[in-house]
């Protein structure tokens, strides 16, 4: 029995380290998923899937590499979500072409931003902030993801490109367009 102790202890240490890491990133991951899905339940499911996929595939990798690998898995889940949404929309249009019309508004665009979590934004009636958050949810998925990974998570361009599975040039383009849209939205609000 004494022989099994080191392995068990090592597994415990790894579990605790992973627990700490996931605790650090889970809220931001949920928020990121909420901005993408505009639905708390869908977002929670995606984060859970991302945690599971990350632990199974990359839990044994060095701790310093966990953050980009976790966001890589989450980004992959978010892309899958958007692909499924696109296919579902196509099917809905195909199944009910005459009744609803092809050019109806995108239900996602009509959906309200799920929740404004910030008490200060609510209390002070910070409309500009609410408008910016809404603009963030309305960005195309890749633009929003580039903005969040670069600006909020603080990954550099190369790492963001690695996480998103695209070139660094594409990240710059996504980011530039995202900033442009956000700026326009803020100016239009004034």
């Amino acid at each position: 029995m004494a022989m099994a102790e080191p392995a068990s202890s090592s597994a415990d240490v790894q579990r605790r380290a992973l627990d700490r890491f996931l605790r650090e990133v889970e809220r931001k991951a949920l928020r990121m998923a909420e901005l993408a899905t505009r639905n708390r339940e869908d977002a929670m499911d995606l984060v859970q899937e991302a945690m599971l996929g990350f632990v199974r595939s990359y839990g044994h990798k060095p701790n310093a590499e966990w953050a980009p690998l976790f966001y890589r898995v989450l980004d992959s889940r978010l892309q899958d979500f958007h692909r499924r949404q696109t296919v579902r929309r196509r099917w809905r249009v195909w199944l009910r072409p005459a009744a609803d019309g092809d050019d109806g508004p995108d239900p996602l665009e009509q959906a309200p931003t799920p929740q404004t979590h910030s008490p200060s934004a609510r209390a002070e009636g910070n409309e500009a902030m609410a408008e910016l958050e809404r603009a963030l949810t309305l960005l195309p998925p890749r633009q929003r993801q580039a903005f969040l990974l670069r600006t909020w998570e603080g990954f550099d361009g190369a790492m963001t490109a690695g996480i998103m599975g695209c070139s660094e040039g594409s990240v710059k383009t996504h980011l530039s367009r995202a900033m442009h849209s956000l700026r326009d939205r803020l100016e239009a609000h004034r």
Binding site: E65, W152, L186
Partner: protein
């Protein structure tokens, strides 16, 4: 693409970034208890799936692959026993090769994402400056 920007655009973009960053940071601090509890459950569920050893992580996909290959071998032998034509044996081997590739993919469905990410992981390992301090 029009690259023109007003002179103060960079400052304005920086301000927008800072505003959103502060807002998002604040928002994640205000999740309710029920949400935090669900996150905790999700985390514990994920941690329960942690392979205890590297051997165990490859056990089930490996077992699936071995079973698939045994099935292909069995079908291949059975098919060869039904025919004596050299051409037919050749066809059988081609068919076997394709099946092994396809079945290997199906047998390890859970690890497809890992295979897709191998390129990213190889690239990540070559980043000497990365210290994982982004979040």
């Amino acid at each position: 693409m029009n690259d023109y920007r007003p002179p103060d655009s960079t400052a304005q973009e920086q301000r927008i970034s800072e505003m959103l960053r502060a807002h998002l940071d604040e928002s994640v601090e205000n999740y309710d208890a029920a949400t935090l509890s669900r996150l905790n459950q999700a985390r514990q569920h994920a941690l329960d799936a942690l392979p205890t050893t590297r051997h165990r992580q490859w056990f089930w996909p490996g077992l699936g692959l071995a079973a698939a290959m045994a099935l292909v071998l069995m079908l291949s032998v059975q098919r060869q026993s039904l025919t004596t034509s050299p051409d037919a044996v050749g066809d059988s081997l081609v068919g076997t090769q394709l099946s092994v590739d396809e079945i290997a993919l199906l047998a390890s469905d859970d690890d497809l994402e890992m295979f897709q990410d191998l390129e990213f992981y190889a690239w990540l390992e070559q980043q000497p400056d990365w210290d994982g301090s982004s979040s």
